[in-house]
Symmetry: C2
Subunit: 384 residues, 2 copies
């Protein structure tokens, strides 16, 4: 009865600070195979458009490349990106202007720019790439995407007609924007912005007010920078003949969302896009169980994060979706329980966060194994 090895789709997010999504998925698969040596385990590491998106997407195929471009503070960085299906590039903003780049973050946020990301896109356009998937999240910049637009040919000029630096500091002198030299290839290209942020560019819910402080914007500078970005945005919108600054997501990644929308980009849930790129729906065909996971879980997970998207895709196909998390906010279990068939944790007893992080993969494999034993027993025992 039910002795058939099950088909399990394993689609966790990364465990921030301890495990990539692929490593997490492989750990879960290891645990499952201890129970079902012949199980059909379909590994689909998830991501939400932020850190790890490139790795997750490339796990399903494609080519990993590197380009030398300017980092947020102008120093050269070797940014990884991916090529999939011949004419599509997958770009992770954080690879170019990431908060993890401590050389860049040693400089004040007022002097950081997204120019390098524009350089990368420009070189890819020149190489014939027509579709871009651009993951936002984890950026150290707050330039409204001025750097990106400038690298793609937009002229940002001061009162004397001289180019200003495409940074919050430089933009204070901005008086004119000329978009006529913008790369012509842009019009034929398609940009998909991967982000879960729905903030506008400016105002009290804008990029600077909400995300600025975690990038080093001092409280007393928020208003000044916000005004600077608003002026830049209005000039840029006028030059392009198109509005974007009030659209949801324009405030993503310090305004990169705005800049990408201004050149025609459409925003999309990172997790949904990744699920599509990985062929998650196809993987769920004939599946018995989906296991997803993440490092920390609370009700925020329900706002479209990768584990929720994976669970929704599964549930839509009648496949139960179980969450394995590093830590779960117990007070949010009633809401979480509506999305997951079991919110389980990798820990086996009281322990410190440090010990947990030191062996996340081992804990993950052991927990997956134990849950698989329960799952197998429940199936075997089933008497309709």
């Amino acid at each position: 009865l039910n002795a058939r090895s099950p088909v399990v789709v394993v689609a966790p997010n990364s465990f921030k600070g301890s495990l990539s999504a692929l490593d997490a998925a492989n750990a879960i698969a290891t645990g499952l195979r201890r129970v079902w040596p012949h199980a059909d385990v379909r590994v689909r590491p998830m991501a939400d458009g932020g850190d790890g998106t490139l790795d997750a997407v490339l796990s399903a195929g494609g080519e990993r490349r590197t380009a030398r471009v300017s980092g947020a503070a102008g120093t050269a960085v070797d940014a990884a990106y991916g090529l999939i299906g011949g004419d599509t590039a997958i770009v992770e903003s954080a690879q170019v202007v990431g908060l993890i780049d401590t050389v860049a973050t040693a400089r004040p946020v007022e002097e950081r720019t997204t120019q390098g990301l524009g350089q990368l896109i420009d070189s890819l356009l020149q190489a014939g790439i027509g579709k871009f998937l651009i993951g936002l999240g984890g950026s150290s910049t707050n330039d409204g995407g001025a750097g990106l637009l400038s690298a793609l040919g937009m002229k940002l000029l001061d009162a004397n007609g001289k180019a200003v630096a495409p940074t919050p500091a430089g933009l204070t002198k901005l008086v004119r924007v000329d978009a006529r030299a913008l790369d012509r290839r842009l019009s034929g290209a398609r940009f998909t912005i991967l982000s879960d942020v729905d903030n506008p560019l400016c105002g009290e819910r804008g990029a600077t007010a909400i995300f600025g402080p975690q990038k080093g914007v001092r409280a007393e500078s928020v208003a000044t920078i916000d005004v600077t970005l608003a002026r830049f945005a209005k000039l840029a919108e006028a030059a392009m003949g198109r509005g974007a600054m009030d659209r949801p997501g324009a405030g993503a990644a310090g305004g990169l969302g705005f800049a990408l929308m201004l050149i025609g980009g459409e925003i999309r849930s990172g997790a949904e896009a990744v699920a599509d790129l990985l062929g998650l729906d196809a993987a769920l065909g004939g599946a018995d169980w989906l296991i997803t996971g993440e490092g920390r879980t609370d009700r925020q997970t329900l706002l479209g994060k990768a584990p929720l998207v994976a669970a929704r895709r599964a549930t839509a196909k009648g496949v139960p979706a179980t969450l394995i998390s590093g830590a779960i906010e117990r007070g949010d279990l009633p809401e979480l329980s509506r999305a997951f068939a079991g919110c389980e944790s990798i820990v086996f007893g009281p322990m410190t966060l440090e010990d947990c992080i030191a062996d996340t993969a081992g804990l993950m494999a052991d927990r997956a194994e134990q849950l698989a034993r329960l799952f197998a027993a429940a199936r075997a025992n089933s008497r309709p």
Copy 2:
């Protein structure tokens, strides 16, 4: 498909230091009912003959009584015991001579005695009780059961024919044992000793060497007390015309095992006896799932502890048995996995032991709920 509410037997041990077995079982039941409001949840709190045995047995019926007898240091204690089925008493040694009695343990172990337990048995014999279930474990005494035998009429005499104190100190002066005045009613009574200990009374695996230190026997006194108990035991065996000191379990509860065997008692696994008293096998009839639990789990659990016994009974009837523990020794999971369909923990992420103990019942209910969601999904999904 499989929408029928399941039948779940809930049979945890107590969570030492935080939750009685009944409270643990009720917490699990609470979690299960959040998933299956109409589930047939059969609560069978387990015990292993130690602390909590009385409560567990009485949860299935019977009468709780109290008797005033001497504690281990002679001070009066009100000891709880149970009456079941008219002629059977369930007695927990720790209620009379427990390590938890800090008045008694303020006195040196050399001066503590099991006399009070003999008084309790004596008064129950007088009241017509014919069957005794005596849970050992958690005792503070190391008198070889001399106190118990003395309270039941055995004479322990010094060189001058004067009675010696039935304590390790008193027994150093023992030269003669007279069993002729032993309560006649003993011969018609049946004693079942509930214990998982298989140590003999004396020697390097004996009561004093193995369990003495945790009761306060100093390292330098182990040999002296061991010799004293051996001499007492040989005299007592001769007086009774029966051997017991080398039998497995004679060393339980500081030698109470020996004394009870000497008056005809038979040793039995506490958990097995409790399972029978609770009607665990009957409860498993038609059940879909058994959940057991305990505060801390490692390979010792496999040596006949209550969760193992519950799981074995379930497995014998084709019912999967899942363990929910406060903390699981991960290195022992391979062995534990052979006994349980899933070794799960009550914790939801890194946390301190103190926080865990402060809300064991809440954690337990939440974990049971989450596992039930997984169980339900696995059953519903089952496609043979």
